[in-house]
Symmetry: C2
Subunit: 128 residues, 2 copies
């Protein structure tokens, strides 16, 4: 077994991107086989966007690509960890370093993550 | 919005357990709303096992519970990170610290993770 457990071309497996230097979990997305293979081939993280229903080359719009340093798979081969260098310093479309920038507390959600860029500067003003 | 985007009682969201001290990604599993709420209430990681189709209280058999130190949710509120203290030192049923103990290389899979216990000592001999 040398690849994750993609049953067919439609199978989506969860993939966690982790900062290779700091260990911070940056985001969680999904990969189909094509995304996985392109990730290995190019050394840049490629996911499958469930909302757009197409390959999503991370950073295709923002330029914030993920340079893949190491690919790990789990015991059941149905989950993937990418240890990456996050170009631009932020993985999240909200401008935060990590998509996991909010902590669950008894008082509700609390922002704990750092914002690196202003989304309107990167993606343009919010759509009406 | 104070909880993840569980659409109904059947919705499963991916949850990443990360060692709160070292940052190592230990495992990826799924939660339904009940698992999530029990996790918050008890401070121990509870998942929903897709294979067993029931709540899976991590460590219920091995004793290797996960003490939850922090719960983070992502920008879309459809993925969860648990920062945990892993009791027993190993999250994986194979006895490795992390389920992500194998690296993908050009030559195939390479074990990079540390084995902490012998599964046959914890779960009994392999089933015939």
């Amino acid at each position: 077994m040398t690849e994750p457990a993609f049953q067919d071309e439609q199978t989506l497996l969860p993939a966690v991107a982790q900062d290779a230097e700091t260990g911070q979990v940056l985001m969680l997305a999904f990969m189909n086989r094509e995304a996985y293979q392109e990730t290995l081939r190019t050394g840049r993280a490629v996911y499958y966007s469930r909302s757009k229903q197409r390959l999503w080359r991370k950073g295709e719009q923002s330029g914030n690509e993920q340079v893949v340093k190491q690919v790990l798979i789990d015991c059941d081969a149905d989950a993937i960890v990418l240890r990456v260098e996050q170009l631009g310093g932020a993985a999240c479309h909200t401008g935060h370093q990590s998509c996991f920038y909010r902590e669950v507390t008894d008082q509700g959600l609390r922002v704990v993550g750092q914002r690196v860029f202003d989304p309107s500067q990167v993606y343009g003003p919010p759509q009406a």
